[in-house]
């Protein structure tokens, strides 16, 4: 058995049956990271000792007759914007230099309770702001399929870690596509749950009405398994929903004959790369042959999703990032010793990278007197119209299908100097966040250059079970998810 190629659920079962130790699984992951990370730059931190220690615990508990949790002994990586007590969180920013969180994020408590072994923290765009992972203070992550290409962002390190077989699972956060888009770029599965499904306690806030944590995996079944561990109400995050958490894995029946899939033709027909369009059409065809019905739908306000998203998320970011001021934690500019105000502004100028500053500036502008109504409030109203588009569509269909990203992963540096061009690439992912809907990206092909292409399914709020069922049925009918990059 090749440990690195094994799914999370199979690893857990091997460990539970005593055919593999958690320590062996952990060591395999750590060795793989050590051999590929120089090329990928996917990890900001690897905590070998802590991981081996935890894995040893799992083995001792199993030997003592304890039943392992659903992720017992499974190595997992976390995006470096989630807190693990005693392990530095950087958000790939200089301004959090030397920050060591004094508490665990709720997702960390839930993962470790389920037996998962955290091996380290993955590189990302600074404060999760970006679509290419080029905004990290620690340098970009490289796509495992082609090292000169973006891995996607902002959770690029998590996607690359799963694609390169360092770990079978990783967590990311998704504010406007930051799980789904890198999943598409790296040829893995990425799930953004419904808003309120997973606690954000211990996640560094970027845009609080949009942020959601979710898993990367190589199979839909592993994503479903992980969501089951993460999901549920949390008294530490008042936005978590009291919705019941179903058995997501049990929902994967393979049968989608009752499913109606919405296809927003007019929206998808504009500005999509030909190879991506072909892969998407072919995925629709596969789903139809598996028994689902395709239904044309109209999403008249979807074309406004990018401007609405960038007005809303920057406004919220400008408020959320006010906390980084050189007082309570992180970096403080040594240059300003004489006045508090100067200390704030020097610290923030030296500590934040260009994209974070750009978004703070934009958000401050759209919230400022004279522009609030014309930009921020207007965006919130159009957000309502966009939600209504989806409400209406979901009266007729069970899921909506579209490409995850309009192009295959582009070259590192290709769009770095033009932020607006970069933002436009988020056209298919931002709607799910604005409307609070769950979305999943599933591998659906490769470009002629061998670059992964993904397509996205979006579902009704809190109906991840149907979303996962359709994605899993697609996966059963194809073998894209079994392909691995030829990294040596």
């Amino acid at each position: 058995m090749n440990v690195l190629d094994t799914s999370a659920s199979a690893l857990r079962n091997e460990i539970a049956a005593g055919r593999l130790s958690a320590a062996e699984a952990c060591r395999a992951a750590l060795d793989r990271i050590a051999s590929v990370n120089e090329a990928l730059n996917a990890f900001n931190l690897v905590d070998r000792d802590r991981a081996l220690d935890r894995a040893g615990d799992i083995d001792r508990r199993r030997a003592a007759g304890e039943t392992l949790g659903p992720l017992g002994g499974v190595p997992i990586a976390l995006k470096d914007n989630m807190d693990v007590r005693g392990m530095p969180t950087t958000a790939s920013s200089r301004i959090l230099e030397h920050f060591v969180p004094p508490y665990d994020a709720t997702v960390v408590r839930r993962l470790e309770h389920a037996g998962a072994v955290i091996v380290g923290k993955t590189n990302c765009d600074e404060f999760a702001m970006g679509s290419s992972n080029e905004n990290s203070a620690f340098g970009p992550v490289h796509n495992p399929w082609a090292l000169d290409r973006i891995p996607g962002g902002s959770s690029g390190g998590s996607a690359a870690a799963v694609a390169s077989r360092c770990v079978p699972l990783a967590l990311g956060s998704d504010t406007g596509g930051s799980i789904r888009q890198p999943a598409a770029c790296c040829g893995v599965v990425g799930l953004k749950p419904s808003y309120g499904r997973v606690s954000r306690y211990g996640l560094l806030a970027f845009a609080s009405s949009l942020d959601q944590i979710g898993p990367f995996a190589r199979t839909v079944a592993d994503a479903a398994l992980t969501l089951g561990v993460l999901a549920g109400e949390d008294r530490c995050d008042a936005t978590t929903a009291r919705e019941p958490v179903p058995d997501f894995a049990a929902a994967l029946t393979g049968d989608i004959k009752d499913i109606r899939i919405g296809v927003p033709r007019a929206f998808v027909n504009e500005g999509v790369d030909e190879e991506v369009r072909r892969a998407y059409e072919s995925a629709l065809d596969t789903l139809r042959r598996s028994g689902a019905a395709l239904v044309d739908i109209d999403l008249p306000h979807a074309k406004y999703a990018v401007p609405v998203y960038y007005l809303v998320c920057t406004a919220e970011a400008s408020s959320n990032l006010a906390r980084y001021d050189g007082v309570k934690y992180g970096y403080r500019s040594p240059a300003a010793k004489d006045s508090l105000k100067e200390m704030y502004s020097r610290t923030r100028d030296e500590g934040f990278g260009p994209e974070v500053k750009r978004r703070i500036m934009l958000g401050t502008y759209v919230l400022s007197a004279g522009y609030y109504d014309a930009f921020y409030l207007k965006a919130l109203q159009v957000r309502t119209l966009l939600r209504h588009d989806y409400d209406q569509a979901f009266e007729r269909v069970d899921v909506v299908a579209m490409p995850t990203m309009p192009t295959p992963p582009f070259r590192l540096g290709e769009k770095a100097s033009d932020p607006l061009q970069m933002y436009l690439g988020d056209i298919f992912t931002v709607s799910a966040n604005l409307a609070g809907l769950p979305g999943i990206s599933v591998p659906c092909g490769f470009s002629k250059d061998g670059l992964p292409i993904g397509f996205q399914l979006m579902g009704r709020m809190f109906d991840e079970a149907t979303l996962l069922r359709v994605a899993d049925a697609y996966e059963r009918a194809t073998d894209w998810h079994t392909r691995a990059p030829s990294l040596t």
């Binding site: 406004y304 001021d325 934690y329 502004s345 500036m361 934009l362 109504d373 409030l377 207007k378 159009v382």
Partner: protein, 133 residues
Amino acid sequence: MSSRHLRERRSDVHPAVTTHAGFAFCILHYDGVVPTTLTIADVERIAALAQLELTDEEKQLFTKQLADILRYAEQVQAIDTSGVPATAYVNAAQRTERDDEPRPSLPTEEAIANAPDAAPEAGLFRVPRVIGG
């Protein structure tokens, strides 16, 4: 720096809206401010509001880039939103109150452990001079 909060304006909420959206509000008057240009002075004003001390190079760059982005975002202003409530938050119907019971919180020592400058014996964060500085 005290944290700034997103301003909430509530006026003339439509009765149909209050049933499912706590953060809903309607716009009755709208000035239609449309900035087509952005000056360095605008960028300096925003930077000051955001407590960012930008270099001259950053000011030049942001003046152009922010103007590009805002011009693109102006397309939302052409959409008819009369009577449409705002969505600030999608789970607004959910009750978020809880009983006011004391729960364990972070000990002072741990709360200040990450401070760039702290006075642990007094349990305080230390900052440069605030008055007369």
